[in-house]
């Protein structure tokens, strides 16, 4: 044991390289990333794979998968291609997920950083604000915002982002509270750096690991929320999304269950992949875990 430790200390490669090596040995991360890459590729090449509007009625309604070679995954009650719908739905899901997570991250990080770094009454005010948002169920808040505005993809993404920042804010605040007393922060202050400079230049890079991990969960939750909205017919009516496909297939649940099962599987796989990535990153980035 001790010889292994000293050997690894003697030839200590660069941190980034060591992390990459640890990442490639982490099964959760590898599986999660593979699924995610597949989904992203399908989303990117949706228009190449399935030219034309996925909302077009192209075939006989309610064809089962494999029944006709032209529609490998069948058609829905209106004769729309399920495979095309899944591909275009991936676009909406990933886009809404990413944008919503980005917005949530931006607001959450800023509020958490300011609250944690300055403390005192600023902290008090911001924590109350965070708690105010947390007491309202995310989904209800999103529905309220979407009903006030028009149900378009950008509005939905913003709404989900606005409803999801408290988690990030609490996490970042905790990180900053721990790090603001660190010696290197005192050193930075002794060098005459300004507070914004210390917050973003010195402390934030040290708080990155848990933030990155949370981001993957944030994206997953945003995808689920968007699917839920679309299922309730509150999604963007001009776009096919996984949630709206499930909603459309619901009346035929007994005769053509694949109409709900296929998009459902897509959602489950993507969310699972994102959670796997989050878990894997947690292991790799966390210096206290054996993988790091």
């Amino acid at each position: 044991m001790s010889s292994a430790v000293s050997a690894s200390a003697a030839v200590q490669p660069r941190t980034s390289w060591r992390r990459a090596m640890a990442a490639s040995r982490n099964p959760a991360l590898v599986i999660g990333t593979s699924i995610l890459i597949a989904v992203v590729l399908v989303a990117l090449f949706a228009s190449r794979l399935f030219p034309g509007d996925p909302q077009d009625m192209v075939g006989t309604p309610a064809l089962w998968p494999g029944q006709e070679a032209e529609f490998p995954l069948g058609t829905d009650s209106l004769g729309r291609d399920v495979a095309a719908g899944l591909a275009y739905g991936a676009r909406v899901s990933l886009l809404v997920g990413a944008v919503a997570a980005g917005i949530g991250l931006l607001i959450g990080t800023t509020i958490g950083a300011v609250a944690g770094y300055f403390g005192g009454w600023i902290d008090n005010v911001l924590v109350r604000l965070t708690e105010l948002f947390q007491t309202v169920p995310t989904f209800i808040l999103v529905i309220v915002i979407v009903t006030i505005e028009t149900p378009s993809a950008p509005v939905i993404a913003c709404a989900i982002g606005l409803a999801s920042w408290p988690t990030v804010a609490r996490l970042v605040r905790a990180q900053f509270r721990a790090l603001r007393e660190a010696d290197f922060v005192t050193a930075a202050r002794s060098l005459g750096y300004s507070s914004p400079r210390i917050i973003f230049g010195e402390i934030l890079p040290n708080a990155m690991a848990p933030i990155i991990v949370t981001t993957s969960v944030l994206v997953a939750n945003a995808i689920l929320t968007e699917a839920g909205l679309s299922f309730l017919n509150m999604g963007d009516p001009n776009l096919v999304s996984w949630g709206s496909m499930i909603g459309d297939g619901r009346p035929l649940l007994r005769t053509a269950w694949f109409l709900t099962a296929l998009p459902g599987t897509a959602i489950a796989l993507t969310v699972l992949a994102l959670n796997l990535v989050g878990d894997g990153l947690n292991d790799v980035l966390n210096p206290r875990s054996p993988g790091g």
């Binding site: 200590q12 941190t15 403390g119 005192g120 007393e181 660190a182 010696d183 290197f184 005192t186 050193a187 930075a188 202050r189 002794s190 060098l191 005459g192 750096y193 300004s194 400079r197 230049g201 010195e202 890079p205 040290n206 990155m208």
Partner: protein, 324 residues
């Protein structure tokens, strides 16, 4: 620095201390743990933790009172005109940024250098503080450096803008003894080279003897003796200072001794205390009058001041029986 008092909540940690540092000289602030040395150093830069407050006093630096300065002006002084080296080299560097970028950042902040210019200057500074292959090392992270090397990097950052004063808060406490001498030599060499003043905070009397010009001994938040180094080591006046020297082998120039080292009996009295000299309960020469009032820091001769009721002010320095 004049009559500086620092309090934590209701208690007072530093009771009106008063000292000065001349250009280009090294003043050592000595005392045992918890006597207020580090708090004093942080107060000079107004870096005290939120719980601590400066109760009164002034910190005059080249004609300006640092305690009165606005936030922006203060940041211009920090790092540019006063550099600081902290105690813990292992945690004082940001672990996720390269060493070079951390040194370069100081130059970009205070000298307005471009990224490239700052990086090449950073490499020069690393060279100056004796880091081998500075051209490559600038791209390394702090965990690639040993404690001594990190402290060299900290010194490079502190002297980057050639400040007039370096505050070194126990810069070598966390280091190996052999590295300790190297780091202090480096600091001393840079001081001569740039004509900086150094406030060296330490609890190591040997360090004082070797590297300081003058010494101020602190006890329980007060300065009890201030003197030039030579006369101080020849004959410390305050009983606490004598005890401190008696507890160290290095004052005599030897590195080991056969005889038993003297120890100061008791433990450090709480700074928040009763009236009278705070050292009185541990003092071998205590007289009843010691408990009445804290003796003021008075001139004992031209260059030294001492706060002890048994050392007559301005008079002939009385021979006191050797301790131990």
């Amino acid at each position: 620095m004049h009559d500086l008092a620092i309090g934590f909540g209701a208690t007072t940690a530093v009771h009106g201390i008063d000292f000065h540092i001349d250009e280009g000289e090294t003043l050592a602030l000595v005392g045992e743990s918890g006597c207020g040395k580090s708090v004093t150093a942080l107060a000079l830069m107004r870096l005290l933790p939120p719980a601590a407050r400066i109760l009164r006093g002034r910190v005059m630096f080249g004609g300006t009172d640092l305690l009165e300065l606005g936030a922006r002006a203060l940041r211009d002084v920090r790092g540019k005109r006063i550099g600081m080296v902290l105690q813990e080299p292992m945690t004082s560097l940001n672990p996720v940024l390269t060493v070079g970028s951390q040194v370069a950042e100081v130059l970009r902040r205070h000298e307005g250098l471009s990224r490239a210019a700052a990086m090449s200057r950073a490499a020069e500074l690393l060279d100056l503080v004796g880091i081998p292959e500075p051209g490559q090392r600038v791209h390394d992270y702090p965990h690639n450096f040993s404690g001594g090397m990190r402290q060299r990097v900290m010194i490079a950052m502190a002297v980057a803008c050639q400040p007039q004063l370096i505050i070194a808060d126990e810069p070598t406490t966390a280091l190996d003894v052999t590295i300790q001498a190297q780091v202090l030599d480096l600091l001393d060499g840079l001081r001569r080279q740039f004509g900086m003043a150094v406030l060296l905070i330490t609890h190591d009397v040997g360090v004082v003897a070797q590297w300081a010009d003058r010494v101020a001994v602190m006890y329980a938040g007060r300065i009890v003796e201030e003197a030039e180094v030579r006369p101080f080591f020849r004959q410390p006046l305050h009983p606490y200072a004598r005890g401190l020297l008696g507890a160290s082998v290095e004052g005599s120039g030897a590195h080991y001794t056969q005889t038993r080292l003297h120890e100061i009996s008791g433990s450090v009295a709480s700074a928040a205390g009763e009236p009278g000299c705070p050292f009185a309960p541990r003092c071998p020469e205590m007289i009843p009058a010691c408990h009445d009032a804290m003796p003021p820091l008075e001139s004992a001769s031209a260059e030294r001041r001492v706060a002890c009721i048994r050392v007559p002010a301005n008079g002939e320095v009385r021979r006191v029986a050797a301790v131990g």
